[in-house]
Symmetry: C2
DNA sequence: GTGAGTAGCTTGCATACTGCAAGTGACAAT
DNA sequence: ATTGTCACTTGCAGTATGCAAGCTACTCAC
């Protein structure tokens, strides 16, 4: 196997996750969000072109799967794959660190479905 | 407290760590590296201006402390603060995820000192 | 059937960030 | 006097970000 920057697992993870938005989209997915408008309405106010770009990248890296939830007009939703769900422990340790060092931060409640 | 993007701990963490290089510098620090040339010689080939910028940012966010290790000519080295060391579990979970999903990746050995 | 609304994007464009290459200043060693 | 080392700094072209607006394909109310 040949790697883009190095054979370090952290480096390869950062080539997918290393920006200010990708992990927030994954956070939303972990919280139960699935649709474009749900991501858009998160408090960080992601721009729609950036969201579209990140969803596309997450799909091609196999962290997220896109599927139609209705036909006519066709509408899509996004869900985490196993690989994507595997990032939950990373988010959890990040939350622990963040809550310790940024007083006043809090976690969002999970979105309820069905 | 008022936050830049939101009161989410992940968001606030990403405002410091959310790019392709910062966590690699922290990885190097965790591995025991301290000097400019040591960071420069990591296999990812960080550009020197980016390294200088990231070290400055890490210092102002209180993750890294800069100190002179000699006078005449004055030379500096960098070490993790407690806040910076607190990121070790995050790196560890990232390594676990990375090794699982990028076959062939490996962790670097710690630098020996003294 | 016209108008308004909704969902999931796409496009244009100015500004900000990234990264390569080269240069700088203060020394130490030969 | 020359070469080398270390810790940066600078110039500049290319890439990414983010705001605003637009687009497509519907549904629903009137």
């Amino acid at each position: 196997m040949t790697f883009k920057r190095s054979c370090c697992p952290i480096t390869n993870a950062l080539d997918i996750l290393g920006d200010r938005w990708t992990l927030l989209v994954i956070r939303d997915l972990v919280l139960g969000k699935r649709r474009y408008q749900e991501f858009i309405s998160s408090p960080e106010n992601i721009a729609s072109n950036i969201l579209a770009d990140r969803l596309k990248q997450l799909e091609t890296s196999g962290l997220v799967a896109k599927r139609a939830y209705q036909q006519s007009p066709i509408r899509y939703e996004y869900v985490l794959t196993k690989k994507g769900k595997g990032l939950e422990p990373v988010l959890e340790t990040l939350v622990v660190w963040g809550q310790k060092h940024f007083p006043g931060t809090m976690v969002f409640p999970r979105v309820k479905r069905r």
